[in-house]
């Protein structure tokens, strides 16, 4: 056990769902815990081991001055830093504040905003430190997490897709809901990884894995308009869980 690689799990502004994905690996959890030394995972254990760590999983976005310093300390202590989920890779839904008046946001929710110490922006880990790997999704996909940990244990590069959800619909055998039923869907511009869940449930993809590596968003937006989506609805669907990632591409749909 002395040579087992060490794993640390860190939380920033988030819902806990991505680190819960690790505890949701019911069949694999104890096997993983037998191969990796879980050195720092406060949600699961009081026991904590000092760094450095071989792998750090970082959940959540950076939203406070203290967390800016903390992400740097974690980077210094981690051989590999893996950002997990839409908050850590794209600032999450709380990055909507980046486009609003932050003071107003604070005062809508808190009577005494002066008690709070928050930044005006919610940003991904990569805005502050170099990140070695990013697992996308709101939440991340559990199988992708297990595959990534397995790959890192074996010393190989994890197989993380850059292609779109459309490929996964084909692989799953789901008839295209846009073509067959006229349901608006972000699948053509959204990164694969979920297994094309929403179309299998008769629902258009809403982009929770963020943009694929190569996209033609203007063409999709034209198609969404043809399917009677209003400009308001188009703006909203791109500005939700991955607002910074969709806005950051060269083809910002809101332009």
């Amino acid at each position: 056990m002395g040579t087992a690689p060490t794993l640390a799990v860190w939380k920033f502004a988030s819902c806990d769902g991505c680190q819960l994905s690790l505890l949701d690996c019911e069949d694999e959890l104890l096997a993983i815990a037998g191969r990796i030394r879980i050195a720092h995972f406060p949600e699961a254990s009081r026991a904590t081991v000092e760094g450095p760590y071989d792998v750090s999983l970082v959940e959540g976005s950076v939203t406070t001055p203290g967390d800016v310093a903390r992400i740097h300390r974690i980077r210094e202590q981690s051989r590999l830093l893996v950002a997990i989920g839409a908050c850590a890779t794209a600032g999450g839904i709380q990055a909507l504040r980046n486009f609003a008046d932050a003071d107003q946001f604070r005062s809508v929710v808190y009577a005494r905003p002066e008690y709070l110490s928050t930044l005006d922006t919610s940003t991904p880990a990569s805005a502050h430190v170099p990140v070695d790997l990013e697992l996308h999704g709101c939440p991340i996909d559990r199988r992708q997490l297990v595959d990534t940990l397995t790959a890192l244990l074996a010393g190989r590069k994890p197989d993380l897709p850059g292609h779109s959800v459309c490929f996964e619909c084909k692989a799953r055998g789901t008839t295209c809901i846009t073509v067959a039923r006229g349901v608006p869907c972000l699948g053509p511009v959204t990164r694969a990884g979920c297994g094309a869940l929403c179309p299998a449930y008769g629902r258009g993809c809403f982009g929770c894995f963020g943009p694929a590596a190569v996209t033609n968003t203007p063409a999709l937006v034209d198609r969404l308009r043809e399917l009677d989506m209003t400009e308001t609805d188009i703006g909203r669907v791109f500005r939700t869980f991955n607002v910074l990632a969709f806005a950051g591409g060269g083809d910002d749909p809101s332009q």
Partner: protein, 434 residues
């Protein structure tokens, strides 16, 4: 007595809770002078970012408040939005919502019992360490949790932030055969849940009782999950739409969550022990018998024994899920139409950790004009601090290390979800301050 006259206990980062919190206790002589459950989870301002969004987006957006209980957020959000639109979802669609919610109770309670809470009673820092000595026990817990997640995955598309819930019902409803496939794992989970009750009933519990007023939803005839009327054990009952008249929240400097009290009455407790105390007569016969054999009686005021109540609710949630699956016939449509309408809507459901209240004001086109969310942990914060104060006062002869550890356990009794508790606040207070 050898202890110092002035002691200060701190846990900078509480372990095995959902989210980021700390605890500070100050003792002067034989008096506990200060107890603070400090919540420093950074706020995410959900109530602000919901303003201007479409009413159909609310269930998906509010699910992101909590990865542990996203269904609770979706269900309270749907109830409130449908109330604002004066629509009703009933019959089989309501049954499917209750079934989905059972999945979340099973998943969340199994998580708390086995991975977060039980290690305290058995002297382990966490479940992975517990598994080194008691692997079959931890595997049983993971197997129950998996059954809950299988139910969530089938009905919701995925366990965390399900994609299949919408205002009005679902995007797709399962075929009868699909649900039947869950019968075997759920039956196994129900057996394992019965073993869980027996297991936790054998733990040693500190002799401790609180006197908090208990608040839960109550719906005569069945154990409250996704519907019911807010009711306390001291005779207070009010409609969901009157929630904000009775529950007052205020911001305190040491917390990004709020302290809630009942107007003119004081602190109150919500969650499994309150739910059990107010609803136990509506448990299924199997769950009621399990409660009886575990010695629960007609109420539970020892927060350490909340683990027994969660185990009984685990039996009930499996039993109820099996009952709903047995009677299931697919409805004609997966959802009812819910046209937008200007108005205010209110919703409350029983999240695994207690009453979760939502209120939305919608414009005529369905745009959200204002939002308010009151999660269980914010409501329980004052009770947790009161417990700590009394708990510490009775144990001043313990070493700092031991006392700190026991205080941590006293906090974990409540399964606090700090991710949920943060970022909510009462607009009334905002006005009085200015």
């Amino acid at each position: 007595m050898t202890h110092r006259s002035d002691r200060s206990l701190s846990v900078a980062g509480l372990a095995r809770v959902e989210g980021e919190g700390a605890m500070h206790v100050r003792v002067d002589g034989a008096t506990v002078t200060d107890v603070r459950l400090e919540i420093y989870e950074p706020p995410r301002f959900f109530e602000a970012l919901l303003v201007g969004r479409g009413y159909t987006e609310v269930p998906d957006i509010t699910a992101r408040v909590c990865g542990i209980c996203p269904v609770a957020y979706q269900m309270s959000a749907c109830a409130a939005v449908e109330d604002a639109c004066q629509s009703t979802v009933d019959g089989t669609l309501a049954d499917l919502r209750r079934l989905l919610y059972c999945g979340e109770w099973i998943e969340s309670h199994a998580l708390h019992i086995y991975l977060l809470h039980a290690p305290d009673f058995l002297g382990y820092p966490g479940a992975v360490e517990l598994a080194r000595d008691h692997r079959p026990v931890v595997e049983r817990g993971l197997s129950i949790k998996k059954a809950g997640n299988e139910l969530l995955t089938l009905l919701g598309g995925r366990a965390i932030h399900p994609v299949n819930v919408k205002v009005g019902g679902f995007y797709r409803v399962p075929a009868r055969e699909e649900l039947r496939r869950l019968v075997t794992p759920l039956r196994r989970a129900r057996d394992d849940a019965l073993s869980t009750v027996e297991w936790v009933a054998g733990f040693e519990y500190p002799d401790f009782a609180h006197d908090h007023e208990l608040l839960a939803l109550v719906e005569p005839g069945r154990y409250a999950i996704e519907t019911g009327t807010p009711t306390t054990d001291r005779g207070l009952t009010f409609a969901v739409r009157a929630f904000e008249e009775h529950v007052i929240e205020e911001q305190v400097p040491h917390s990004t969550a709020l302290h809630a009290t009942l107007a003119g009455r004081g602190r109150y407790l919500t969650g499994p022990t309150a739910r059990y105390t107010l609803n136990h007569r509506w448990l299924s016969p199997l769950a009621r018998e399990a409660a009886r054999s575990a010695g629960l009686g007609t109420g539970c005021r020892n927060p350490f024994r909340s683990i027994v109540v969660r185990a009984v609710e685990l039996v009930y949630a499996c039993d109820e899920a099996l009952r709903l699956i047995d009677g299931y016939e697919p409805p004609a449509a997966a959802a009812v139409e819910v046209p937008p309408r200007a108005g205010v809507g209110y919703g409350a459901t029983e999240a695994p950790r207690g009453v979760l209240f939502h209120r939305y004001r919608l414009a005529a086109d369905g745009t959200v004009d204002s939002a308010r969310i009151v999660p269980p942990t914010a409501q329980n914060q004052a009770c947790i601090e009161d417990d700590l104060r009394r708990f510490v006062a009775a144990r001043l002869d313990l070493s700092d290390e031991r006392l700190t550890y026991e205080c941590e356990q006293a906090i974990r009794n409540y399964d606090p979800c700090i991710s949920c508790a943060t970022h909510f606040l009462d607009l009334h207070v905002a006005r009085t301050v200015q």
